[in-house]
Each structure stands twice: as structure tokens, then as C-alpha cells.
Symmetry: C2
Subunit: 219 residues, 2 copies
Amino acid sequence: MLLANADIDNSQALTERQKAVLDAALRLLVEEGDHLTMTAVARRASCSKETLYKWFGDRDGLLTATVQWQASKVRVAPVDGKGLDLASLTASLERFASDWLKVISSDTSIALNRVAVGHAGSGKDDLGAVVLENGRFALAKRLKPVLEAGRQAGLLEFSDAETAFRTFFGLVARDVQIRLLLGDRLELTEAAIGGDAARATQQFLALHGAKPGRKASDL
Amino acid sequence: MLLANADIDNSQALTERQKAVLDAALRLLVEEGDHLTMTAVARRASCSKETLYKWFGDRDGLLTATVQWQASKVRVAPVDGKGLDLASLTASLERFASDWLKVISSDTSIALNRVAVGHAGSGKDDLGAVVLENGRFALAKRLKPVLEAGRQAGLLEFSDAETAFRTFFGLVARDVQIRLLLGDRLELTEAAIGGDAARATQQFLALHGAKPGRKASDL
DNA sequence: CGGCAGCCGTACCGTACGTTACGGTTCGGC
DNA sequence: GCCGAACCGTAACGTACGGTACGGCTGCCG
């Protein structure tokens, strides 16, 4: 992780026209992957290349802006931990699992992750950091309070929220993301996602659900 | 793609010189990622570009051959399921987990997966399929017999070996691979890997270990 | 010894694409 | 109505790189 210092919501600094251009770039990115050319973006967005360079600096700047633009769109409402009981906790966890599976299996996420992975380690830009920050780390930031609340309410047992989160993450994502990124067909129907979310949640509860007579050190 | 019709273990069809060239290409791939040029490979391997094209057809052919060459090197000895008890099963699972974590955190694996992910969906070659086949699917092929043996021995309970495998996979890999692919620094020391392998194994046993009085339908 | 096949090194070609430059049009402010 | 800024469309430039051609060297075989 490097910077990501331009924290969040720089989406406000964008005019409507710029957003439209980035939307066009995003669509092209999903279709063509890292193959997209500045000419193609300009044509798709009905703008001149000169404008692209003025607004975004260079190709990497355009790519980064596009990724950040998409990231700014997926902010979801945080779950509140009021009146927590086992049923609502289970529902929350299933909701998180289901949402996450939907995200990582979407065309947009796959395309963005592919581009970011391809650019990682080149040192030219920080696409990987941006994607990570708005994906896996944002998820952790939203889920951990729920886990903590569950522990407070005596429903969950764990020593480290980060570790517990990563267990949940593993149970939900399993091999799905890497397979999709590598081009494996793997159609996730709505029903399959729901089933996986329920299974992952039950497994997580089996590992970290509070049970009288079990010591937390067993985890 | 031109050739690559010779399915697997075409490693035997390679001369020593060709292997040396592919090793050079592999090292370059780790250093430069998808940025490597045919000229750079030729220079590193001290061969002519003409030879590269004669042997591998084109750039994609060279890349594919390089990935397959690396894959052919990581064949590991399968574990035998003789005289299985809980201790040896646990040891086997920990061994699998530890090996897998070492693989996915290695520079070579990261570089290869990055290239394969970058090429996936372009339709030009099948790097993604090759990596998947020699990574995640090869792992499943080797681990499933162990799981089945564990079930036969009354040590494990599960209805579907594939699902059980994916649970184990998730518990082991968690967010490690995607974070590494996206460029997150995440140094896994020998000790950390050992600890993670033990934790994942214990979690898996907690979910699927045979316990008198628990119905398999609970899983 | 002559021929020839395989390969190295290098020069060369064509193209794709990032980047820049420029003429023409629209539009808000004076 | 006039000016300048912003922007569109397109042409032009430079370069990097995939792919090819060729001359020279080495070693094997008859």
C-alpha cells in the first residue's frame, strides 16, 4: 500500500461533462480491458484527445481517474448495529457476503481488477492501491464494527477483529475472485450467491459464534 | 497461439537450450512483468530473435511456453493416505496449506498470475486457463483424495468434496493472493505461513472434523 | 574438404499508439 | 458585436516494439 492520499470523494471536483467522459472510459475499459486507446476513449466520449490530456494529464491519469470515479459510485450505506440479536447479526453478515459476491463477480469489478493487477508492480501508477482501498479495505472498515457489536452483544467470540474479518472474507470469496480474474467461466446466479452467503455465514458463526462452555482460545 | 497443441508435459519435447531460454524469459517476466520485449528476452538468453520466433511462433507462444515450463517444474509429490489418523491428517492439511501459501506468495507465482490475469478475456491466448489448471485445479486434484481418505477413515464429515475443498481453500488463502496481486506489500515470513496453515487447518477441522453427536447436515 | 543446417547478432520494416499541434466552432462576459 | 477561453475533430510526429531478412560463424555429415 502506498499512498491513496487523495482520500475519498474527489468525485466532487469533477464536472458533469468529465463524469460522462469517465463513464465512457469505464464502459470501454470493461469491453476492451487494458487494450483501450486514447483515441477510442475520445471517440466514445465524443471529446477531443486534447481535452483528455488537459483534464487527466496522460493515459495513466485517465485510468486512475476512471478507477476512482467508479470507486466513488459504490459507496454503500453502512449497517447500524442497534438492537442486535442473532437473527439480525446473521442477516447483516449474509447481506455483506451477498453484496461482496455480487461486486467481485460483476463485469466492472473484474475489468477494474484486471487492469489494476496488470499495472501493479510497474510503479507507474497506484491503481492497485486504489482498488484495494475501495474494495477489500473498505469492506473491512464497514464490517468490523458489526463484528465488534456482535462481540459486545455476546453473540460472537474472537480475539482480533482483523483476523476474524479475514476468516469471513475467505469463507465468502474462496476461489471465486481469482478464478474470475483468470477468465474462468463461473456464472453466479442470484440464487447461488444467496446460498453461498448463507453457507459462509453459518460457517463463520460455527467458528466464532458464542457458545457457552467453549473457550475463545479454541479459535 | 500457434502450437501448444501438445497438451501437458511437453517439457520433454524441450531441448536443454530451449529450457535455458525459457528460464531466462521467466526471470525477465518476474522482473518486468508483461512489459518484457522479445528483444530483451533474446538478449537475456543470448539467442537471436529469429530463434525465438522459430521455436515459439510469436510473443504469445513464448509467454505460453514460459508459463507451461514453470508449471511443469512445480509438480510435487502426492501425499499418500495410508495409515491415516487425526495427527497425520492434520499434518497433511497443514502441509498443503503451507505449500500453497508459499506458492501464491512467491515472486514467480505473482508475476505469472499478473500476466495471466492481464491477458484473460482478450481471447488471444489461454494463459489464464493454464495458470488455473496448474494452480487451483491441480491443488484440488491432489487434496481431494486426502479429504476423501479422511472421510473414509471417519475423521472428516462433508457431503461434497468440491465444496469442502473450496472451504479449505478460502480458509487458507483468504485475502492474501488478491492483495499480493494488487501490489500490497504483505511479507509472509516462514513463521507467519506456518501459523496461518495451522489456524486454517484447525478451522477446517472445526467445521468438517468428525464429532460424535453432530449431524453432517449441520455443515 | 565441401556443403549444409542451426543459430547468433544486427539491421530493417511496418504499424499501433501516446502525445502534440492546429484550425474551426461555440459560448459566456463586456 | 467582439474577445478569449474551452472544446471538438483531425492531422501530424516520434517512438517502441513485434516480426522479418540477412550475413557470418560453428559444427556435423558425407
